[in-house]
Symmetry: C2
Subunit: 348 residues, 2 copies
């Protein structure tokens, strides 16, 4: 390319996150790197399991770059997992067919006290190295994104020992031993903040904080048991790095997300995006919010929905096009192509 | 009891569903019969599996009555399962540790065309017999509730072959073959309507329609792919029988539920109940909405939350106290007792 290399702050995604007027809406997708891509499956087949792949900077960088090469998104999010920092606390972590598994979950005061935080730059150095590799290979106009799990969501995995439906052990600890809960959440918040800061040092230009399971809580319980520790993370992240908050299926927590977010809020696909913009009142950028399930339709239908979504918020500053949740594994890459191409060819 | 037997229409729960002024808020709980009760586990241990229990009118009636005897709720909902009517369409149904399983899911036009509806009074006669047994044994002031699954939720099980996380097969069929989708949903709607009418004939005094998975759809998709068939059910149910609509984790569909519901709408615990009453504007009754997860705290905390919820909607006609979702299996019966006792001793 003969065009001059833009300064970091000039990148389309970063300008949209600052709610500047942009020439078109930037786009990236949660889980844009993954099993729906044949080139990902090829790397995965050679790797020593999922953990082997995310812990290998070369492989993690390669799969991070794959969707950028194929589709040309405006943001590249590092291929990693929100649970890896739990290893920095001394927790054992496995991945099998059923998803993540933590064989020694944290259930008691003694369990929580035994957690010892190692600096992310030591325990998670492969994350920093992968970011460096991606950064060097990334087209100059593409923004590099880092991420971490929010304290509440990390706590759910640490306590349940894996993915849960009803979070029974979490509820028991949270309600019956609030002091232990608070100790655990404080440790997780400090770890998350350190991990996000480390990623920013290593080249991440924007960060996403994923609170996947926050929506299982009522608003009152969210405010009592989760929000203070998300707030602690938000306050600790370097102020110059844009930070987007994601909370899963949490329309009832949207006002809290708006109040907490320094830069942007991810909007679930079940919430009307135009209404979300009304509620946000221009204070933060909004990310979203096509239904990932709708990408199982057809490229034509995806293009139609993408146009309709962009039209519904045309003229609003601070929109980053994305899904409301991650790309589903059986998604046809042609449907992702239709989404990205529609966004790239649209004009506000 | 020497008190005169009240006429059916005089029952507290039915009066609240008609939004009459009542002496106290009636209470019943979704999944109030179940594994959290030792007397249930004793019956279950003797039965031929879960299906053997629900298909045996004596056992189904017995476990339906257990929570009424122990706690004194104002409503008794028949112990059964929303998937049983699928057997009346010729589908095979199993239950194992992982939940329901349909070994031959419906995926093609031919699969849907092959579904043959047998009249509920034949295929589901055990439901009618169980209702008759409960009715005879129930205290005169307790309302007998029947229920069924909404067409969209039944379709999700019929297509996926069980519980699903992302409903991939459902999305594919729904988006790629809308004519087959509509044929399936029409068959399910007619079956559901017939099953509800049959339960009313057999003594159910109020009905609940469970659309457990509706909340996975965006509002636009709900209106296109689910609502018309719920509407078909609502129109077909005998007008004199109160009907409450439940949609899981579906605050974004609340306006649709209000528009559809002839009698009442169940409110998810993540939605503020007072705000739900504001939105309902007195047109229908509202059911809910304590967090079932909060019943894992302590009897004192449950009593506190119950009082707070009742206070938050004091003076509103048409409230039926319930959870936002079903009782969780590890719930301490003392917490259910605290909830029911707080409701029964409260005065508006």
């Amino acid at each position: 390319m003969s065009a001059p290399t833009p300064k970091a702050g000039d990148k389309l995604l970063l300008r949209a996150l600052r709610r500047e007027t942009v020439e078109r809406t930037p786009v990236w997708l949660m889980r844009q790197a993954g099993r729906y891509l044949s080139e990902y499956r090829a790397v995965r087949a050679q790797a020593d399991g999922f953990l082997g792949m995310v812990r290998d900077p070369e492989l993690a960088a390669e799969v991070t770059l794959q969707p950028i090469r194929r589709f040309g998104m405006d943001g590249a999010i590092l291929f990693s997992d929100i649970l890896l920092p739990l290893e920095a606390l001394g927790m054992e972590l496995c991945f099998d067919e059923g998803g993540p598994h933590l064989p020694r979950p944290v259930r008691t005061r003694a369990d929580v006290e035994a957690l010892r935080a190692v600096e992310p730059r030591q325990a998670l150095d492969y994350v920093g190295r992968a970011l460096g590799l991606v950064k060097r290979a990334l087209p100059a106009h593409v923004t590099l994104l880092g991420f971490a799990g929010a304290p509440f969501t990390l706590a759910s995995y640490a306590i349940e020992g894996g993915t849960s439906k009803s979070f029974l052990e979490l509820r028991k600890l949270m309600y019956r031993d609030p002091a232990t809960w608070e100790l655990l959440l404080a440790k997780l918040a400090d770890l998350t903040a350190a991990h996000l800061a480390y990623q920013a040092e290593c080249g991440a230009e924007a960060l996403v904080l994923f609170d996947t399971w926050a929506g299982t809580l009522t608003r009152a319980d969210y405010r009592r048991y989760a929000r203070p520790w998300t707030e602690r993370v938000v306050r600790a992240v370097p102020a110059h790095v844009p930070l987007v908050l994601f909370a899963g299926q949490a329309e009832h927590l949207f006002q809290d997300q708006l109040a907490l977010a320094p830069t942007g809020v991810a909007v679930d696909h079940r919430m009307e995006l135009a209404r979300a913009f009304d509620q946000a009142g221009g204070r933060v950028a909004l990310q979203g919010n096509l239904d990932p399930g709708a990408l199982l339709s057809s490229p034509e239908e995806v293009a139609r929905r993408t146009r309709a979504l962009l039209d519904s918020v045309a003229g609003r500053a601070g929109h980053v096009l994305n899904l409301g949740h991650g790309v589903l594994p059986p998604t046809d890459p042609e449907c992702v192509a239709a989404l990205v191409e529609t966004a790239r060819s649209a004009r506000p």
